[in-house]
């Protein structure tokens, strides 16, 4: 069986499904190949934060594009992915972090991200429930949260309705350059051909980029998520701690039906091979203590479920986005390092633009996979082992 399209997208996470969606809006034919089901891994198990603030400034152009898509998601996708423009707040416990809030707010303004920084009495007037350890808050009024379990599958279905071919349960084992484009082969021997290929296969991307001599020091880790029983809806925003101390970096959001979704702290182990990731019991215990510190009123609540999934991290915590340095027509988008959900549709829109028109106004230089080839391979390995769980 041989199938052909203008573009083959490998990976059905939020980047892959949204790229397929935006390519179809540009009338390009697309085949999306997904080894499991759409949105099942990092895109489906993450916190669901639709958060621009805190990102590297270079990400903000795509992040702003993404926010526009999130805001129009119901109209664009024809279904509800539970996006709530509730605002997103970062809080901190340390004076140097409060200073950073002011610096970041000043820098981000030039990139179209407006933030309010509150301290002292004004902070507790606005958020009276915060623990008294909190020093400052940085509020992004237009950010929010959405349901990760629904988003990527919804982009996939919307792309399919526009004519994309979404092929699930199909693992790609080989991608080869050939005359006129690429040959993509599945584990069961099916062959797909296209002029352009996008590899956005998360923790599994490295095996394919390596086939083109472009390995990336990717590591798999699992987010440590939890959720409480439903309680009255009072936290109409998403909130997290900014800190350089990993144990302190927890975040939460409440959904209108009442459950509070919790996450953060050190990651757990994940295995791309078995597609399994786990929540370490000690991480859950440490997380709960941090929540009771940030919001003491959470003390009487109960956690009813924890979960994890396979996310992929790069040593500099920035993703790879953009063209291959080795093969014309080959593109990458992976290694979002725990921050890919919000920006996903912005990356998809930008890549669709790049693949279709050959250019994009968004500067992708700093996200090039070439940065790992420039570093010596021994150096890359040592960085990987340091950041491994």
């Amino acid at each position: 069986m041989i199938e052909r399209a203008d573009v083959i997208v490998i990976g059905g996470g939020i980047v892959g499904t949204s790229t397929a969606f935006f390519l179809r809006r540009r009338k390009r034919s697309v085949i999306l190949l997904e080894r499991g089901l759409t949105g099942q891994q990092a895109s489906g198990v993450n916190f669901g934060g639709v958060r621009r603030q805190g990102r590297a400034l270079e990400q903000l152009a795509m992040s702003n594009r993404a926010l526009d898509t999130w805001r129009r998601s119901r109209e664009l996708l024809g279904e509800d992915v539970e996006f709530l423009p509730s605002g997103h707040t970062r809080v901190c416990y340390h004076a140097h972090d409060a200073e950073y809030f002011h610096r970041y707010a000043a820098d981000a303004r030039a990139y179209g991200l407006d933030l309010d920084v509150l301290e002292g009495a004004a902070l507790f007037r606005r958020f009276p429930f915060l623990g008294r350890d909190v020093l400052a808050a940085s509020i992004s009024p237009l950010d929010g949260h959405a349901n990760p379990r629904l988003a990527a599958p919804a982009f996939g279905r919307a792309a399919a309705r526009l004519g994309a071919r979404i092929v699930e349960n199909t693992e790609v084992v080989r991608v080869e350059k050939e005359a006129g484009g690429f040959r993509v082969e599945s584990a069961t021997g099916d062959v797909y051909r296209a002029e352009q290929v996008l590899i956005c296969a998360g923790a599994w991307a490295n095996a394919l980029s390596t086939q083109f001599g472009e390995p990336a020091p990717l590591t798999a880790r699992g987010p440590q998520m939890a959720v409480t029983e439903p309680v009255p809806y009072v936290f109409q925003f998403s909130m997290g701690v900014y800190t350089s101390i990993k144990e302190e970096s927890v975040y939460f959001r409440q959904i209108p039906r009442g459950n509070i979704v919790l996450g953060g702290g050190p990651p757990g182990p994940a295995d791309a091979g078995t597609r399994r990731a786990s929540v370490l019991p000690a991480n859950t215990v440490a997380q709960m203590a941090q929540f009771c510190r940030m919001v003491p009123a959470m003390r009487p609540l109960h956690v009813i479920r924890v979960w994890s999934g396979v996310e992929s991290y790069l040593p500099d915590s920035e993703p790879v986005i953009g063209p291959s340095t080795k093969a014309d027509g080959l593109f990458y988008a992976f290694g979002f390092s725990g921050s890919g959900f919000q920006i996903g549709p912005g990356v998809g829109e930008t890549l669709a633009e790049l693949l279709d028109s050959g250019s994009t106004p968004v500067d992708l230089t700093s996200f090039s996979i070439g940065r790992f080839q420039r570093a010596s391979s021994t150096h890359a390995e040592s960085v990987t082992s340091e950041t491994s769980p």
């Binding site: 859950t284 009771c292 479920r305 924890v306």
Partner: protein, 462 residues
């Protein structure tokens, strides 16, 4: 240093496992969620309650007393941790919480005796206040001496249906009707297998006598239609279709439901045990050998939590699993004892198969549940919503349907809705139940307090 063996559960399997370990010279840790030992079936009444063994346990009084006395004799030789929930299992350690105190306990061997709970099938209106499981109705009576209502309907099928009804009658409660979805013909078909344990069969027949003497109406071969009620007043009546097609409405203020039992397998799942679909039971169960060894080294499964065969079998399976653990640790165990237990257990396995024939799980009801019926009570997911995610979103697998619809995401984590939910998905997707798969287990097994504090022992040791 002697091996650390942890037994989870102080019911028939857990107590007999602990006993065998003590006999071998070990000092096991026995962790139990309840305040007192005995498990569900031989649940001890709270201190200060004075009902006799005969009143509490009827025909099982002797067995209950023997188990309690065995446990009391063990107390100096074990570390008993009552009121303690094992909320997670890691490789070679369990994580427990008692109140808000948590701690990690390492083990060389873990014997999981997690018991069973009611297998339930939704019925329209079962979310009204006053609807209980049969097991829940029994706990109210055994523990607190309370009935769930003043006019109670028992509906479903299984030995517990008649047992709980008879216990309510003996306690002086009014049982307005016993409504059984299985038929007398199914009972006859099961007879040859049920004769594997004639004494238990005889006890079952005696229960019928109690109900007959009390003039409790019994209807077999019924199809549940509705638990009628209002949010303000709760349950007011139960409506069913009788075997002959006539409609019957029984007024009541409480209803107890259940279709036999299902193993509580969450701990085995968290321990990493492999699961296999059991075609006879139409359930996913952890894999274990005849003695209770799982595929995870050092993890053993015994009693109804591994496979529902009843309390008498659980006592033997608990002991057998302990003997296996003792042997695997490298100590000597009595092979004759083990052989005898294996032989006895095979009779219980035959009897359990007979019960399945006599009281079959009514899988067929799932396909015809009205769309507005709530399937997952924790998350208020209806049959219609579940069918929508199958049809419109292509969710033909249990975890995919959970991700899209929230079925099984609530407090009970699917313990009470997963079986029926899978049947609804299978019927809608037109695939075999096995193809729907099973919900992946996730900690905590039961809700975990956020205000956790380290157990005193942990603080001093650090």
């Amino acid at each position: 240093m002697a091996a650390t063996v942890i037994v989870i559960g102080a019911g028939p399997a857990g107590v007999r496992a602990a006993q065998a370990l003590v006999e071998a010279g070990l000092r096991p840790v026995v962790i139990d969620e309840s305040r007192r030992d005995g498990g569900q079936i031989y649940r001890r009444q709270p201190e200060g309650f004075t009902r006799t063994y005969d009143t509490l346990y009827g025909t099982e009084a002797q067995r209950a007393r023997a188990l309690h006395e065995a446990f009391d004799a063990l107390r100096p030789h074990i570390d008993h941790m009552p009121d303690t929930l094992v909320w997670n299992v890691a490789p070679n350690a369990v994580h427990v919480v008692s109140g808000t105190h948590h701690r990690e306990l390492a083990f060389d061997a873990l014997i999981i005796c997690s018991g069973a709970a009611d297998r339930v099938m939704p019925v329209p209106g079962w979310h009204h206040a006053g609807t209980y499981s049969l097991g829940g109705a029994q706990v109210a009576l055994k523990s607190q001496g309370c009935a769930i209502g003043s006019r109670v309907v028992m509906m479903g099928t299984g030995p517990l249906l008649y047992l709980v009804a008879a216990q309510y009658v003996k306690a002086g409660a009014t049982v307005s009707a016993v409504l059984d979805t299985s038929t007398f013909a199914q009972r006859l078909r099961a007879l040859p297998q049920l004769l594997a344990i004639p004494s238990t069969l005889k006890k079952g027949i005696a229960l019928m006598g109690i109900l007959k003497d009390a003039r409790v109406p019994i209807h077999r071969g019924i199809t549940p239609v509705e638990v009628r009620g209002t949010p303000e007043r709760g349950v007011q009546a139960v409506r069913v279709t009788l075997a002959d097609g006539a409609m019957l409405e029984v007024e009541c203020d409480a209803v107890a439901l259940g279709y036999h039992l299902r193993s509580e397998t969450q701990l085995a799942d968290l321990a990493g045990c492999e699961f296999r679909f059991d075609h006879a039971l139409q359930q996913w169960l952890p894999v274990a050998d005849e003695d209770g060894r799982s595929n995870v080294r050092g993890v053993y499964l015994a009693g109804d939590g591994a496979r529902v065969r009843g309390a008498d079998a659980a006592e033997r399976a608990g002991r057998l699993a302990a003997l296996a653990a003792i042997k695997d640790i490298g100590m000597t165990c009595n092979e004759d004892d083990a052989n005898k237990l294996r032989t006895q257990l095979s009779r219980f396995t035959r009897f359990a198969a007979g019960l399945r024939t006599a009281f079959p799980w009514p899988a067929r009801f799932a396909a015809t549940l009205p769309d507005e019926t709530i399937v997952c009570r924790c998350e208020a997911v209806t049959a219609g919503e579940l069918r929508r995610v199958v049809n419109d979103m292509g969710a033909k697998e249990a975890n995919r349907a959970k991700a899209f619809s929230r079925v099984g995401m609530g407090r009970c984590q699917g313990r009470f809705c997963a079986h029926a939910g899978a049947e609804v998905i299978a019927a809608q997707a037109r695939v075999p139940l096995e193809a729907v798969g099973r919900l992946r287990g996730q900690a905590p097994v039961k809700p975990l307090p956020m205000a956790l504090a380290p157990h005193e022992d942990m603080e001093t040791s650090e």
